[in-house]
């Protein structure tokens, strides 16, 4: 009986959440369809693999950003963390540490930096936007010290495995999304939403707000650093400033995906969908033959449209 009612409740909540995203799903679906018409090669394994590889790092950093935004935070250190992850991967994998050591080092770095940032934000009660802005300068500096010029080395087999002609990156994304789903079912995962939506209420219900904040920053750091690891594998080397544009793009993708700035509002699938739209848009505009100037304009229009269509749909539904 309780089981049935709770699963009914779950279904109802999921439906309500998905409804807000229908507009975005439609827009993304239309773009994917258009892309497949313009470039049928996307339907082959090779074409699909290459396309998803170019999307994958953006999807990861968007998850890293959305995770914090759901918790009522934000980070401006995503890009530098991607760069640092790439630099650490490219400098350790060629050394005695090898690939496993490199992967561990990247994860440890993301976890450590994320947790430290989270601790400063949570325990000293400082605004996340300022702390992560300061953090972004420090992390950029460290990346430049470790690798002043692009270089380093990632073994060819790892590059081929992650970014070859097979959809490994896409499968990894599915695995990460599944892990997120499982994580959300745990008290800690639920607490991320709760603390973001209503911190005072969550605190009174016994949610350890500070610890949750630190955990979300740490997980976000790991995702961003792993994004850097993938970029290093994809390019075969490290570049100390390659991640910079990811900061703004991760915020744009999350907001496109319906994640609110005030916490507790939005879904991870929406955010990932938003990142997919940003990525597929670039390819569609290329195949439509837009000149660069028109691309700047079109990009802005598509983003406004992708936010406006769901909003209009919601209004229309409310009026009905």
């Amino acid at each position: 009986m309780t089981q049935a009612s709770s699963s009914r409740l779950y279904g109802a909540i999921q439906r309500r959440r998905n409804r807000g995203l229908v507009g975005l799903y439609l827009v993304v679906g239309a773009f994917l369809l258009l892309y497949a018409v313009l470039f049928p090669g996307i339907l082959t394994i090779g074409g699909f693999s290459k396309f998803t590889q170019n999307w994958f790092p953006l999807a990861l950093v968007t998850m890293a950003q959305a995770l914090l935004m759901l918790n009522g935070g934000i980070t401006l250190a995503i890009g530098p963390l991607v760069s640092l992850g790439a630099v650490i991967a490219a400098t350790t994998m060629g050394s005695a540490f090898g690939v496993p050591g490199g992967i561990l080092a990247v994860i440890a770095t993301g976890l450590g930096i994320g947790a430290a940032t989270g601790a400063i934000v949570a325990l000293l009660r400082l605004p996340a936007i300022i702390v992560t802005l300061a953090g972004s300068f420090i992390i950029t500096g460290v990346a430049l010290i470790l690798l002043p010029r692009p270089g380093g080395f990632v073994p060819g087999w790892l590059s081929t495995l992650l970014a070859g002609h097979t959809p490994v990156a896409f499968l990894l994304l599915l695995v990460i999304l599944a892990l997120w789903k499982i994580f959300l079912a745990t008290p800690l995962g639920l607490a991320i939403y709760a603390a973001g939506d209503n911190p005072v209420g969550a605190f009174r219900s016994g949610v350890p707000i500070e610890r949750v904040k630190i955990v979300s920053f740490a997980l976000s750091g790991v995702l961003a650093a792993l994004g850097g690891l993938f970029v290093a594998a994809q390019t075969g080397s490290g570049d100390p400033i390659i991640g910079a544009p990811f900061t703004l793009n991760s915020i744009a993708a999350a907001v496109l995906g319906g994640v609110g700035f005030l916490g507790g509002k939005g879904t991870m699938r929406g955010a990932v969908c938003g990142s997919l739209l940003l990525s597929v848009m670039i390819n569609v505009m290329f195949f439509l033959g837009f000149p660069p100037v028109a691309q700047y304009v079109a990009q802005g229009l598509i983003i406004v449209g992708a936010v406006a269509v769901p909003a209009r749909l919601a209004l229309w539904r409310a009026a009905r």
Binding site: F39, G41, I42, G47, K50, F51, N54, P57, L58, L144, P148, R149, P150, G151, S159, A163, V231, Q234, T235, G236, S237, D239, I242, P245, F246, S279, I282, N283, F286, F287, G289, P291, P292, V293, Q295, Y296
Partner: protein, 354 residues
């Protein structure tokens, strides 16, 4: 026996086929030897060219793109090119990878590229090379050698030649200020590094101080203005590029200080100030027509000509004897742009023949 005969027949046929294949292979490898890297010879004119730019907004880039589209128009008339696809990665190397991947997907015949990162593009470019797409990389170069050609001037020579001119002008003695582009940018580093041996060899030259600014007038002028307050005696300015020199000249002018010998680049504003103030000046340039030359090189390679793997473009020099010829053409260039030296097909052919 019968079996043997037939097998020996098979063997004979096999040998014959092998020999034929061997001959074909020899002929093919002979052709491959003559042709350029990446080019397989299976692509026929008219060609589709992809121009993968990293960032289209700066004036230098716009002018460079202008030479590319002009060259493509010429080649279209000759029936060699049918289409030009232009992308702008907006400064994002990751987006540039995605653009180049799309160009591979669209099966363009050649890709002309200014790299947003010296090694981030290596893998996607080598993928394109494997598909037989001619890759010509200029200005900002990639690491991988799986390209048809790389085209550039020598930044270190840039700095060295500028320093030599200034040292000679000052008679090997005097106090100078060095103006650099942004720190950590390879062009800026390389030019500065090229100047060092010349400065080391002339002990009479004292570098008072150095500046690092964007390649723009305003920040350079600001930096020079504060240095003018601090230093009463300045004999020369070793400016290493862009609009830095124009900023310096303006700073001297506003402070009412007497102009000193100065080096620089072909920024229109600097050249006009040079004439107007009667400066003792010297300038060189990163010619915008490297873009046009790249398209030309790509098409030549696709046409089966053998092009050099690295094309070093000599630095054109502007001095008192040639400045008038540059200023005479000034109105054809944007006010904040660069007056580049003339170019034609003969010059390109000469550069390709090195």
């Amino acid at each position: 026996m019968n079996v043997n005969a037939s097998s020996s027949g098979a063997l004979r046929r096999f040998l014959k086929a092998t020999v034929a294949a061997g001959l074909a292979l020899a002929a093919f490898s002979g052709a491959a030897h003559a042709a350029s890297t990446c080019v397989k010879g299976d692509r026929k004119a008219p060609y589709t060219i992809g121009w993968a730019n990293i960032y289209s907004v700066p004036t230098w880039m716009k002018q460079t793109e202008g030479t590319i589209t002009a060259e493509v128009d010429e080649l279209k008339k000759a029936g060699l090119v049918k289409d030009l696809m232009i992308t702008d990665a907006q400064g994002n190397a990751q987006t540039q990878i995605q653009h180049i991947q799309s160009m591979i997907d669209a099966n363009v015949d050649a890709i002309v590229v200014i790299a947003g990162s010296s090694n981030a593009l290596d893998r996607v470019i080598s993928d394109a090379c494997d598909k037989g797409i001619a890759i010509v990389n200029f200005d900002s170069l990639v690491n991988t050698d799986k390209v048809t050609a790389k085209i550039n001037t020598d930044s270190s020579e840039w700095g060295g030649e500028a320093a030599k001119w200034l040292v000679n002008k000052l008679g090997g003695k005097g106090k100078i200020i060095v103006m650099n582009g942004p720190a950590g940018i390879s062009v800026s580093d390389d030019r500065r590094r090229g100047a060092q041996p010349v400065l080391d060899a002339n002990k009479g030259i004292e570098v008072i101080t150095e500046t690092n600014t964007e390649y723009n007038v305003a920040p350079a002028q600001e930096a020079m203005t504060s240095l003018l307050f601090a230093n009463q005696e300045i004999d020369g300015v070793l400016s290493l590029g862009g609009a830095l020199s124009a900023g310096s000249v303006l700073a001297f002018d506003r402070q009412g200080r007497e102009q000193v010998p100065i080096t620089g680049e072909n920024a229109r504003q600097f050249l006009e100030l040079w004439k107007e103030k009667g400066l003792k000046g010297w300038a060189t340039m990163q010619p915008n027509w490297l873009g046009a030359l790249s398209v030309y090189t790509a098409v030549q390679a696709l046409e089966g000509k053998s092009v050099p793997a690295f094309i070093k473009v000599p630095l054109p020099v502007i001095d008192d004897s040639s400045i008038d010829s540059y200023l005479a053409r000034a109105d054809k260039f944007p006010a904040d742009g660069y007056i580049y030296s003339d170019y034609d097909k003969a010059l390109f052919d000469k550069l390709l023949a090195q």
